[in-house]
């Protein structure tokens, strides 16, 4: 009966602010796969990746009551991981590993001057790793995207306030699921 699975990222954040451990566990569960793969790709070292992600999630928990996320949980996490990786790279002990690559890039690489473009690209680069996840983790991530999408989409379609929608969302989602492809329904049965 883990209802956290069906919550949108926004709902999880609200619960997290109230120190709800279940919400924190679900946030970790959703994002651990892509964030780990992405960070490992950049650092190529398991231990450093472990430490970085541990610090990231531990800080998320520490700041839970004063958390203000201006856009979305995913954008927040992706920005956070990138900034932490860059901080790590700039650190004296490991900087040599990266200098050559960065120097090359300064000479040849395209400058993405617009930070919104960079952010969009960051999301793409991280979420493309979903394909490299073990099947179960893939499904967890994809299902959570569906829940995000559903809440907002339903609100748009019904043109009512999101709060009213949330009251009806469970009903609507259940009906939606029945209408979706058998593959999705199979996906869903994994979690029941």
């Amino acid at each position: 009966m883990n209802q956290y699975r069906e919550l949108s990222d926004e709902e999880l954040i609200q619960l997290l602010r109230r120190s709800n451990h279940g919400a924190f566990a679900e946030i970790y569960r959703r994002y651990k796969g892509v964030l780990y793969l992405h960070t490992y790709r950049k650092l190529t070292n398991e231990e450093e990746t472990d430490d970085l992600l541990h610090d990231l999630f531990a800080a998320l928990w520490d700041r839970r009551t004063s958390l203000t996320i201006r856009d979305s949980l995913s954008a927040y996490l992706y920005r956070s991981v990138r900034n932490r990786v860059l901080d790590h790279i700039a650190h004296q002990k490991v900087v040599d590993r990266y200098e050559h690559s960065f120097q090359n890039y300064l000479t040849n690489g395209p400058l993405l001057a617009d930070h919104l473009v960079r952010e969009r690209e960051l999301r793409r680069v991280i979420e493309v790793e979903v394909a490299n996840l073990p099947i179960k983790m893939q499904q967890i991530f994809k299902l959570s995207r569906f829940h995000q999408f559903s809440h907002k989409e339903i609100a748009k379609q019904l043109t009512v306030s999101e709060k009213t929608v949330k009251n009806q969302v469970n009903n609507a989602l259940k009906i939606l699921r029945k209408k979706l492809s058998p593959l999705f329904f199979l996906l869903l049965s994994f979690y029941q």
């Binding site: 009966m1 883990n2 209802q3 956290y4 619960l15 120190s19 709800n20 451990h21 279940g22 924190f24 679900e26 970790y28 569960r29 651990k32 796969g33 780990y36 793969l37 490992y40 790709r41 950049k42 190529t44 398991e46 472990d50 541990h54 999630f57 531990a58 928990w61 520490d62 009551t65 990138r82 860059l86 700039a90 650190h91 004296q92 900087v95 990266y98 050559h100 690559s101 960065f102 120097q103 890039y105 300064l106 000479t107 690489g109 400058l111 001057a113 930070h115 960079r118 960051l122 680069v125 790793e129 490299n132 996840l133 983790m137 009213t164 009251n167 009903n171 259940k174 009906i175 029945k178």
Partner: protein, 381 residues
Amino acid sequence: MDNASAKELLKRYKDGKCTPEELAWLESWYLSLNSDAEPLDADLLETATRRLEERLLETTSRKQTSKNRSWLRYAAAAVLVISGGLFFLIKEKGNGGYEPVQAVILPGGNKATLARDDGLSVELSAHKAGIVVGDEITYEDGTSILAAQPEVVNYVLSTPNGGTYQITLPDGTQVWLNAASALKYPSTFAENERLVELEGEAFFDVTKKKGKAGRLKPFKILTKGQLVEVLGTQLNISAYANEAAIKTTLVEGEVKVFQQNEENDPNGFGQHVLLRPGEQSVIAGHSIKKTSVDVTPYVSWKDGTFYFDNADPRMALNQISRWYDIELVYEGKIPSMRFYGVMGRDKNLDAVLAILKESGLEFKLRQEGEKHILVVYNEIK
């Protein structure tokens, strides 16, 4: 960019001295870094994320939360947080592991009966979680249960021990009914107020509605000894007949809690308190009192969790007895230790008992025919 070298730029980043353009170069490079490398092996990824999970659990439970919201105090208990199929068990002190009790006692589930005041009664499906009252009554997925009635009729949704069910009322209000509880409601609400009756425990998420002359239409919840009036709100009411007090806990919004004047006066409500979010009213005996609380222990059942934070053993054991449908027997005085622990309500009884054992509870599980009995001993001095 030829002026600055990579080395210098990285140093400036470390010192927080990058210009926006320099930062743009850094972040642009970051995106392409190692982009064509082989990803981490899936098995290694699984082990790594599991390892990380355990570490995180330790870290996030060791930290003390702010004064008013102490989540789990360290003096006692095992903390069990179940997520997905994974089991995280952290122990502060005490022996490792727990011995499972003999019988496997399953947790509660979706069980309820819907009865109409003309005598009709329907046992609701255990495979659905809730019903919606519109013109007709359907399950959440739209499957029909009962057709619309021409006149206004009253319904009672009731749950047995080990049962829980959800209902969406005609005005969109959602109610989660806990075990051994009942909610009485009309097929259509009156024009100037929305009135329901509750026995046991339920969590209400009340919608704001306008009635006559555009004024807000109050939602009223009547329990024996108490009347609660709300406008648009999230609250939990615990009004079990076998418990000494009626507790109303407000999560969001604003409510007025009225105490009933006398046993035999269903319309006489005198003393009242006004609750703000994070406040709870307690009606016991002839008094009504208000306190500030951490709402979590009172509402987490609705999210599928037992949440014991310095919990009174009788309260905790009552919750467990209702959900697992076991009888409680106290040998001697009721124990005085407090319980700490968090766990999913979807686990078998032995997992929950393990937490209580960690808190120092002495007990024995017995079976008499179909009945399961938890015998609770007073502490051995």
